[in-house]
Amino acid sequence: MTTDGIVLSPRTGWLDALLRVDELLASVALFALFLVAICNVFMRYFMSMPLAWAEEVLQLLMLWTTMLGASALVRRNEHVMISIVSDRLPPRLAKWNTRIFNVGVTLICAAVMLVWGLKLLPFAAMRSTPMLNIPFYWVHLAIPVAGALMLIHSLRNLISPPVVDPLAAVAPGLIADLPPRVHAGPDIDPRS
């Protein structure tokens, strides 16, 4: 599957399309953040009526953007990391290194976010945001939702280990229009 000329992973199909929903929603939320912030500036200057609710909506959207985006980064394997050790390991060991220290640890963290995120929800009923009275439920919900998605992504990554692309991880977007670097398959070190 090619995106902007970078070959990410060989996965295609309806399930992959569906699992990309986190990326889509997070992008929409980011654009919405920009629009709300701009609206607030204009309301203040042209209507002298600052939006009292802007701050709450911005916080809510920022949390959802971050959590869903973090899940998308798990699927793309683009979280910032150092790969000095795995770069020096023979391919077979490198694969196991990735399975344990990258995918495995992510899997545990995702499970914790899901389980304790759900435990946090009943507490959220005790709180709502000051101006719009949005129940904190909607704020805290981002954590278990992202946890669940990350869990699915990392389980899939465990079955077929992701391509380790440290470059994509440090500067996504800025290398988007580089010439395509075709990875032969998930098990081959892309930098060899």
Binding site: S48, A52, E55, F123, M126, R127, S128, P130
Partner: protein, 314 residues
């Protein structure tokens, strides 16, 4: 083994609340023979007020300073304590905390998993610092005043006829300097602490709120303590509150003088029109209250001519 309790508050080290909490920690250590340890965390190091009360509810060993309007979702009636113009002095306001109404409210709070350790310290009397000569509500028409992002403060400033502008305290100085807002309200030590008098020079003594703050923990954690430990915390807590109140009063007077020396014009305000507007407008802003007569009930309690019951001379 010793029980360590973290005490969290937003004030900076050296401010009256910080000094009082440190004193509290000493008293607790003395009384308990080192069995109970209070560890102070100033400057919101452990999180903001809502985060801390939530942590207390999780069962964490933490006591946090809070505000009664923070419990709006579980006990909306309590927010009336932060309403403007329900008392004219801390002495009057203290009657609320001795009332049956308050006893019933704190029992309701226990049901929700919170425990009030110290019912109130006097956080300070709120005044208005602005670039206008504010004497009556008329003078506040269209004037943008920074408030904290909380429905009671927004409603309070609206009832005073101003345009409430929620903003974090850290942004206030540049916002005032550049005319994004016209004024800010808070107790004098906070106004002086933010050096706001460098940019706006008129202090109107609106006395709109005698801000009180409770120290709160979670009921689950409270029940884990022994009765003796609970007794020590409550008793030394009451002493701490008195000590804090004295420090805060001294500080307020000293800071008012400092402001005067810095060339701030001190304006006496006719409170009557502000009072009647608050009484008229605040109840309708809070349909969540169990009874719209709550505001009047507070007026009744605070204006009680009976002297307060003597405090436990500990």
């Amino acid at each position: 083994a010793e029980t360590v309790i973290r005490v969290s508050y937003g004030n900076q080290p050296g401010e009256p609340i910080d000094l009082a909490v440190r004193q509290w920690a000493t008293w607790v250590e003395e009384e308990s023979g080192g069995d109970l340890v209070l560890r102070p965390f100033p400057a919101s190091q452990l999180g903001n007020e809502t985060e801390i009360t939530e942590q207390a509810r999780f069962g964490s060993a933490v006591i946090g300073i809070s505000a009664y309007s923070n419990f709006f979702d579980v006990a909306p009636d309590l927010s009336v304590i932060d309403a403007p113009y329900i008392a004219d002095s801390f002495e009057a306001k203290a009657r609320i905390f001795d009332s049956d109404w308050f006893q019933a409210q704190s029992a309701a709070l226990v049901e929700q998993g919170y425990r009030i350790v110290v019912p109130w310290v006097a956080y300070g009397e709120r005044q208005l610092l602005s670039n206008r000569e504010v004497r009556t509500p008329e003078d506040l028409r269209g004037v943008r005043i920074r408030v904290q992002n909380s429905p009671m403060y927004v409603a309070a400033l609206r009832s005073m006829n101003a345009v409430p502008t929620p903003m974090s305290l850290g942004d206030v100085y540049p916002a005032l300097a550049q005319g994004m807002i016209d004024g800010v309200e808070n107790p004098i030590p906070v106004l002086h602490g933010g050096r706001f008098e460098e940019v706006v020079k008129r202090l109107s003594l609106t006395r709109h709120m005698q801000t009180t703050a409770p120290f709160v923990t979670g009921e689950e954690f409270w029940q884990r303590l022994t009765p003796e430990q609970r007794r020590i915390l409550s008793e030394t807590g009451a002493r701490m509150a008195e000590y804090a109140n004295r420090l805060i009063e001294e500080r307020s007077e000293a800071d008012l003088e400092r402001m005067r020396d810095a060339g701030v014009e001190i304006i006496e305000v006719d409170l009557a029109p502000f009072r009647s507007r608050a009484r008229e407008m605040i109840p309708s802003a809070f349909p969540q209250w169990s009874d719209p007569g709550l505001f009047d009930l507070m007026l009744e309690i605070t204006s009680n001519d009976q002297p307060r019951p003597e405090e436990d001379p500990s």
